[in-house]
């Protein structure tokens, strides 16, 4: 386990990977190439946690479930499998950026990512970074960012992972992730298929049918699949050419709410495609990274699934990016980055619109003394649609003593108006400004071999928030339009705790937990922001004895207000739910098979994230996680 110790000290990587991914961490240091190295190597002063393949295997129904049980993000979905929005620290879904290999993939129309409209299970690494990061990750990186990264290994290798599960409501999740390569070449092929009838009982005693039975989650079925192909070639020891591509297609119905879920008949289809080509050149003091990307997104919304007419939208994004940095041995690193993007978008109601943006980022990073390093960055973006403010970030990390670290990060971030905000026919507002945010966070981390504590206190102020309000525009009476009219402040703390204890050689206990306290209020009214839980906790406790393991998982959320005037009657109650599982690991030299049985919502608790949309009651799943090389 000594190796793990070293690895933990190297960077901002979360604990509890000791069993799950020791393997990949080792390689990471030598032969793994990641398109987005920045998040792990150069983000300074912020809290990052990793979601492991094992976490995904335990919560694999959809990305909402994966992140809800394993990250500090508060997620609100409109019923299981429905549209799902992620918020960090009480901000909104449009203040949460999703990055695929370092590329911002938030939806062009809404400026946010629907967590049930993406596939994350083939990612080799999922990192959840709390706090803003607009300098590197652009618009929407205000509350936090989620990074989905693919790895390419340069050594002789072949490894395959197959994850498959089947459970209640005819739900199945299937993932294949294969890596193969030599010291010169590397390939990765991944695919996912998720499907569910999702017709669970809405276990609210107050709403039953005439026979006294629970109503069903009607019109909630979904299915989606994705393919992922990446490859790379190591031209010489200091230069590599890589490409990444992924293709996703989703087809789902939007379920109905109580008291009459049978009224629902909406359908939503979406498809997206992402391609990225990178050229990495690193020699002596210089590091160059050239990236080009081509992304498309497309959706079709059917108000009535039985009819052929639909609303649609699509977008195409072209990105060219060049990063260069210079660092003398042990000295200061200077970096310069330019980013050029063109986004074309249209919907059935918005004729084709283009947005062009060009950004320059300057950075300085150095060790002030042996124990203190700092990182300063400055970004200016020119955008064809509006003025984007100059933003800056200052961060530092101080090693208090061995394994103890104090972190500081302060900076400004932004979120640009979405296409819908600007161009919605008759309602869009061309005079919108970007939302801006200021933040400070102070962290303390303890990273030991078997104990990881990552804590942070944050304060954030978001201004010029874009809100759709009625009667905003005299030219279109009675219509709703977006305006920059609200401001909010966010304060609180986050705690990650990972602990592993070896009882004896063949048995251990493990605890992983994320706790977030959030106080997020509207600056004008001083009322709590809606759908923001003050307390959010998830915890996983597991016990392993030889080849057997059991786990108990908890999600606790305090009540949330759903109305902006914080009416008591319009609260969604707090809850605590449990999942539990039993597993068995069969291993030989080349094969690792883990068989699992899970019971979700063990106590059959009624809980909901949206009004009148109960989540599933007690349900069961069997799963297999098979790895071979």
């Amino acid at each position: 386990m000594k190796l793990c110790n070293t690895i933990f000290l190297i960077g901002l990587f979360c604990g509890l990977k000791t069993t799950a991914q020791t393997d990949s961490i080792q390689r990471l240091e030598t032969v793994v190439l990641v398109a987005d190295k920045y998040v792990k190597q150069k983000v300074t002063g912020q809290k990052i946690i990793a979601i492991t393949a094992k976490d995904i295997a335990q919560n694999n129904n959809n990305p909402t479930e994966t992140l809800r049980f394993n990250s500090p993000i508060a997620i609100r979905d409109t019923g299981n499998g429905g549209a799902s929005s992620a918020r960090f620290r009480g901000t909104s879904a449009s203040n949460t950026a999703f990055l695929w290999n370092g590329i911002n993939i938030n939806n062009f129309g809404l400026g946010q990512t629907d967590l049930n409209g993406i596939s994350i299970a083939t990612s080799d690494e999922i990192l959840v970074k709390s706090g803003g990061g607009s300098i590197k990750y652009g618009s929407g990186a205000i509350g936090g960012t989620v990074h989905l990264n693919d790895f390419l290994y340069y050594k002789d290798h072949q490894k395959v992972q197959v994850l498959s599960s089947y459970g209640s409501f005819n739900t199945t999740s299937n993932v294949v992730n294969a890596h193969v390569g030599t010291q010169k070449w590397s390939f990765k092929l991944g695919t996912t298929y998720h499907q569910s009838a999702n017709d669970y009982d809405l276990i609210d005693d107050r709403y039953k049918d005439k026979e006294g039975k629970f109503l069903k989650n009607e019109n909630g079925a979904y299915q989606n699949y994705s393919f992922n192909l990446s490859g790379g070639y190591q031209i010489n020891p200091f230069s590599t050419l890589q490409f990444y591509s992924t293709w996703y297609r989703g087809d789902r119905l939007f379920s109905g709410a109580l008291p009459n879920p049978s009224a629902a008949d909406e359908k939503y289809k979406d498809a997206n495609q992402r391609n990225l080509l990178t050229w990495d050149w690193q020699k002596k003091h210089w590091h160059h990274l050239l990236k080009t990307a081509y992304l498309t997104q497309e959706y079709r919304y059917y108000e009535n699934k039985n009819k052929h007419n639909y609303d649609y939208g699509n977008s195409t994004t072209y990105i060219a990016n060049y990063d260069v940095s210079y660092k003398k041995n042990g000295g200061t690193r200077f970096s310069w980055s330019t980013d050029l993007q063109r986004i074309e978008g249209e919907t059935n109601q918005i004729s084709k619109k283009n947005r062009e943006q060009f950004a320059v980022v300057l950075g300085v990073e150095s060790e002030l003394c042996e124990r203190l390093n700092y990182h300063i960055e400055l970004k200016k973006e020119w955008n064809s649609d509006f003025r984007v403010p100059v933003i800056a970030s200052l961060a530092g990390e101080f090693n208090l003593k061995k394994n103890h670290k104090v972190l500081l990060n302060l900076g400004t971030n932004y979120r640009v108006p979405s296409f819908n905000d600007l161009y919605w026919p008759g309602q869009g507002n061309l005079n919108l400004r970007p939302e801006t945010a200021k933040q400070i966070e102070l962290g303390y981390q303890v990273i030991h071999q078997n104990l990881t504590i990552k804590s942070t206190l944050f304060w954030m102020d978001v201004d010029d928030k874009i809100v759709w309000v009625p009667n905003a525009n005299l030219a279109t009476p009675n219509a709703w339009s977006p305006m920059n009219i609200e401001a909010s402040y966010h304060q609180g703390g986050e705690l990650f705790l990972g602990w592993k204890y070896w009882i004896h050689q063949k048995s251990n206990v493990q605890l992983t937990t994320n706790y977030t306290f959030t106080d997020a209020k509207n600056e004008k009214t001083n009322k709590m922001l809606i759908f923001v839980p003050q307390h959010l906790l998830n915890a996983k406790f597991s016990y392993q004895l030889k080849k057997w393991d059991v786990y108990l998982q908890n999600l606790t959320q305090s009540s949330v207000y759903t109305s902006e005037d914080n009416l008591e009657q319009l609260q969604l109650g707090g809850f605590g739910i449990f999942n539990a599982g039993l597993g068995c690991q069969l291993t030989d030299k080349k094969h690792q098979i883990h068989l699992g049985l899970s019971v979700k919502n063990l106590t059959n608790q009624l809980y909901q994230f949206s009004r009148l949309r109960p989540m599933p009651g007690r349900n069961y799943q069997i799963n297999i996680n098979y790895k071979f090389n």
Partner: protein, 355 residues
Amino acid sequence: MKITKLFLQFLSIAILVVSCQDDDSSVEMVNRDYSKGVLISGEGSSAGTGSISYVATDRSVKYQFIYLSANGVELGTFLQSIAFTEDNAYLIVDNANTVTMVDKATFIKKGEITTGLQTPRYMTVVNNNAYVSNWGDPFSEADDFIAVVDLTNNSVVKKIAVSNGPEQVIAKNGKLYVSHKGAYTYNNVVSVIDLTTDVVTEIEVEDNPDEMFFNNNGNLVVLSEGRLLYNADYTVGGHTIGAIQTIDIATNTVSRSVTFEEGVHPSLMAFSNDQIFYYTNGNVYKIAENATSLATEALISKTLSGMAVSNNELHGVDAGAYKAQGDYYIYDLDSGEEIYTSKVALGAAKIYVLE
């Protein structure tokens, strides 16, 4: 074994946490009499489903969420309108395709209609039948209908096909009058349905007719909002005009039109004491029922989403952005002064003065 103990401890704490959770499903149910006073229906939104507020005639008391208090359950979104009979109130929730029947006094649920409706909007009752306007699929202009409900068993007995977007319904002398606001698009007719033969006659009016009432001569007054015209690139290219039109119900022809300036889109209308009250863009105006031109000066300046006039008082509600409670105002029509204001149902839209 130490670890077993630890595990059990964890489990017991966990169970404790669960059992200590507030159970929000227990609402204390109350039995009150709401048959006299003002009811305000709120459409609801993702912040909260449709709800109803009650304010007593003398404004001494106000109760919120009266359906929830009476029944312990929520209505669903969006509570579009309420229809009344002698004993019952019918709550029409369009997204839930539901009409809920409650006791008019207590608001305790007595029944519901959940089949045969699609995006129901308004309802009126003639003898023992209810007539409910339905958009059908709001994106389809060809599946709109009036559902005829037998109130003895609350079932839809037939559907009368009508043109796109039927909105408000009122009945007189065995005929049903339907304004066609046009759902998500537009329409420009008032349908007249003979309730014995189901024959539908259409009368052309200005675009997007919505509010209607019978004036003192027994003729039908209709408010048409007019609409925005979009260019091919969906920018606003122009407007069709709004109007207050009077229909002679003997001949089914428009006998008088008072039109608005281009770009002005009136959205609310009420009738009291020979006077027509109408609302456009933050102002309430008043004209005589036989006026041939519009008022020049506003009576009251206030943003409103619902309006009613009764006993020389104007009641108005403003739903705001549907994310918090709405505002309710009462104005004395003699002085033009605001005499009462209060917070009411989320998405406040309709005011029913019950006397």
